[in-house]
């Protein structure tokens, strides 16, 4: 029991937190870039399922994990274009379109799996490829740091690079300012000459690609196969993390990793003789505590402004 508790304070625990947290970070970034420009993307979960499934399928078809990855990016773009078409062009309710895409994804993915593999459960019969694991030269030999940040899946580093990219895009470029303007008040943005639809379209495509990559992380590295509903609500946790962050990217990342740490703790505690139902509630308890802190802060702010 003691060595389980001790394991929370080891380098390998931080390594695990990163491994568990990356799919959540993909999801929360996906929700973040969309909501920042004023489009609600609740189809993160559905797009993740498509990303996970098509990554496996394209890599098996082409015998190359890289072409599979390209397919993931294409499918993420296609999903986001469908979403953009309904919400921006047809002015359909964003929540409705998102729910439609989620339902569609969870059912059609099983159907496609059946056609491609003859199984509705897993893609185990497809010879799909996985993306490599990266050992960073030099850094991997640094004692503790190397243990934490080297040896992850390829998409982990892609995710970190994309996080830096999103940060720079949002905070350091005019385009990021336009995104925020579109999110705060589209009419005002339009009146100063910002092409609202163009900004939103680019944001939603970025959002779709991020979600699809999050799915691919699950099935092309973390696991080498796709299995039915393997996203297991990670997309929704990403949406919750984005809600906690309220437009502040660093808080979104922080919230995501609080969930990841909670999940890591759950996985470790699971080996102790504690009631598993209770332990499994820890990440969701964290979501609730996060939301409570948030609303208390908002309430205090509102009172000060009075």
């Amino acid at each position: 029991m003691n060595n389980i508790i001790a394991s929370f304070f080891s380098a390998s625990f931080l390594f695990i937190v990163i491994r568990v947290g990356i799919p959540l970070l993909f999801a929360s970034m996906s929700a973040y870039v969309a909501s920042l420009s004023g489009i609600l993307n609740i189809a993160v979960e559905g797009i993740m399922i498509f990303g996970a499934l098509f990554g496996v399928y394209f890599s098996a078809l082409s015998h190359s994990a890289w072409i599979g990855l390209l397919g993931v990016i294409v499918i993420g773009t296609v999903c986001s274009l469908i979403l953009a078409f309904f919400t921006m062009k047809m002015k359909a309710d964003a929540a409705m379109s998102g729910i439609a895409l989620n339902l569609f994804a969870s059912d059609i993915s099983i159907w496609l799996l059946l056609i491609w593999t003859g199984s509705k459960g897993t893609s185990a019969s497809l010879p799909s490829k996985v993306l490599p694991t990266i050992n960073i030269p030099i850094i991997k030999d640094i004692p503790i740091l190397g243990q934490i940040i080297s040896g992850h899946y390829f998409l982990t580093y892609v995710c970190i690079a994309l996080a830096i990219f999103v940060y720079i895009l949002v905070y350091k470029t005019p385009f990021g300012m336009h995104m925020k303007a579109c999110g705060l008040d589209a009419d005002a943005a339009l009146s100063v000459g910002i092409k609202v639809n163009k900004v939103r379209l680019i944001s939603i495509i970025l959002s779709g690609i991020l979600a699809a990559l999050g799915g691919a992380y699950l099935s092309m590295g973390y696991m080498p196969i796709f299995s039915n509903n393997m996203t297991a609500s990670r997309g929704w946790i990403g949406i919750a993390a984005n809600a906690v962050g309220q437009g502040n990217f660093l808080i979104v990342i922080l919230a995501t990793f609080v969930f990841a740490i909670a999940q890591g703790i759950v996985n470790n505690l699971a080996l102790m003789q504690l009631p598993s139902e209770l332990i499994n509630t820890i990440p969701y308890l964290c979501v609730m505590i996060g939301l409570i802190i948030l609303s208390v802060r908002n309430y205090q702010k509102a009172r000060k402004n009075k």
């Binding site: 695990i16 059912d107 696991m223 996985n267």
Partner: protein
């Protein structure tokens, strides 16, 4: 133009609803009467394709077709995963004129039994019952499997194969039905090595393979070198964890998972054996009894290792990776069940035995 396109959105929405709905059983085309000498048999499952439990059960229909040929007409009805639709699916099947309806399992039997009451002329086979009292209907024949013995068998193999003296078991949901498997596993492992340490944990569902992998990796970090996955689709995570750690073996469940992992040689190579629940053979035996009029309706039968209802997947890969002595040891311990020398604990009969044994194997 806009109207057409918004209709398209409605269509997409509707399509996804239809996609859900399709699963809740389409029994069309089989509504004509059942007076001919062809026996019409329906099997109701939530879905197939889990490469495990439901797929083995579905195999039972092929065995029936093989044995009876044109004398039987078999149909699989997929009820879907939405609990609200199960009773409707059962009622539709009963109305559709089937002579024998097969369904069951702890999760789905209630819907079947609720309908079976109203159709005394239809014979029902519960292929894996859990509530004995509820199954005591005059037209229901219920069987169940000694999953505790299945657990014992895999526990014996795991303990024999383990070099570190630490083994693991990853369950799906924390249900008594899953605890029944794992309690037997504890007992089997302890029989071989009284000092063995067994780590046991639950994923929380049967689909999150990534989480099952995390739990398995944790177990490996704690020294486990043989891990049994009793978690349906999530169990694939156990294989993935073992594949990343050379020298660690995984054990499958319900069906010979070595065969179903054919497309993924790396995962496949980790599967030493599988604890098999032969639902297909049970369906064949059950339906045969019903057709010959010998089925003991209203009572329940417990199918054991001795009956061939549970067993180990003794494929070539298993034989190639077990030494002569190891195989002899497995034989020695498993034969004790056949002779009755060992009786395996059963969580469903004596609740709490899982907790008791867990305390013993945790130190």
């Amino acid at each position: 133009m806009k109207k057409v396109l918004s209709l398209l959105l409605v269509l997409v929405l509707a399509l996804s609803l239809v996609a859900c709905d399709n699963k809740s059983g389409s029994t069309s085309g089989t509504t004509d009467g059942g007076d001919s000498d062809v026996t019409k048999i329906a099997l109701l499952l939530p879905y197939i394709g889990d490469q495990s439990y439901f797929d083995v059960t579905y195999q039972g229909l092929s065995l029936l077709k093989e044995k009876y040929g044109d004398a039987v007409e078999v149909k699989l009805i997929e009820m879907g995963t939405d609990a609200a639709g199960w009773e409707t699916a059962n009622r539709q099947a009963a109305e559709a004129g089937y002579d024998i309806i097969i369904s069951g399992n702890f999760e789905y039997e209630a819907a079947m039994l609720a309908v079976a009451k109203d159709y005394p002329d239809i014979k029902y086979l519960n292929f894996d019952y859990s509530d004995a009292e509820a199954n005591s209907l005059p037209n229901v024949y219920a069987v169940s499997y000694a999953c505790n013995e299945l657990g014992y068998l895999t526990g014996v193999v795991a303990a024999i194969k383990s070099k570190s003296g630490v083994i693991g078991a990853v369950g799906g949901m924390d249900l008594n039905g899953i605890r029944q498997f794992i309690a037997g596993y504890f007992q089997g492992a302890m029989a071989v090595n009284p000092d063995i340490k067994v780590l046991s944990s639950f994923v929380g569902d049967f689909s999150d393979a990534n989480k099952a992998k995390e739990i398995s990796l944790n177990m490996i970090a704690q020294g486990a070198d043989v891990i049994w996955g009793v978690a349906g689709g999530a169990g694939n995570g156990v294989f993935a964890a073992a594949a990343e750690n050379p020298g660690v073996w995984a054990i499958g469940v319900d069906t010979d998972q070595y065969v179903t992992m054919a497309g993924q040689p790396e995962l496949q190579a980790t599967i030493l054996t599988s604890g098999m629940k032969n639902c297909d053979k049970a369906i064949l035996a059950g339906v045969t009894a019903i057709m010959e009029g010998t089925a003991p309706y209203g009572t329940q039968e417990f199918l054991t290792y001795k009956d061939g209802a549970v067993g180990l997947a003794e494929n070539d890969y298993y034989k190639a990776n077990m030494t002569e002595e190891e195989l002899a040891l497995v034989e020695e311990y498993t034969s004790k069940i056949l002779t009755g020398e060992v009786s395996v604990v059963d969580e469903l009969v004596t609740p709490g035995v899982y907790e008791e044994l867990l305390a013993e194997v945790s130190d």
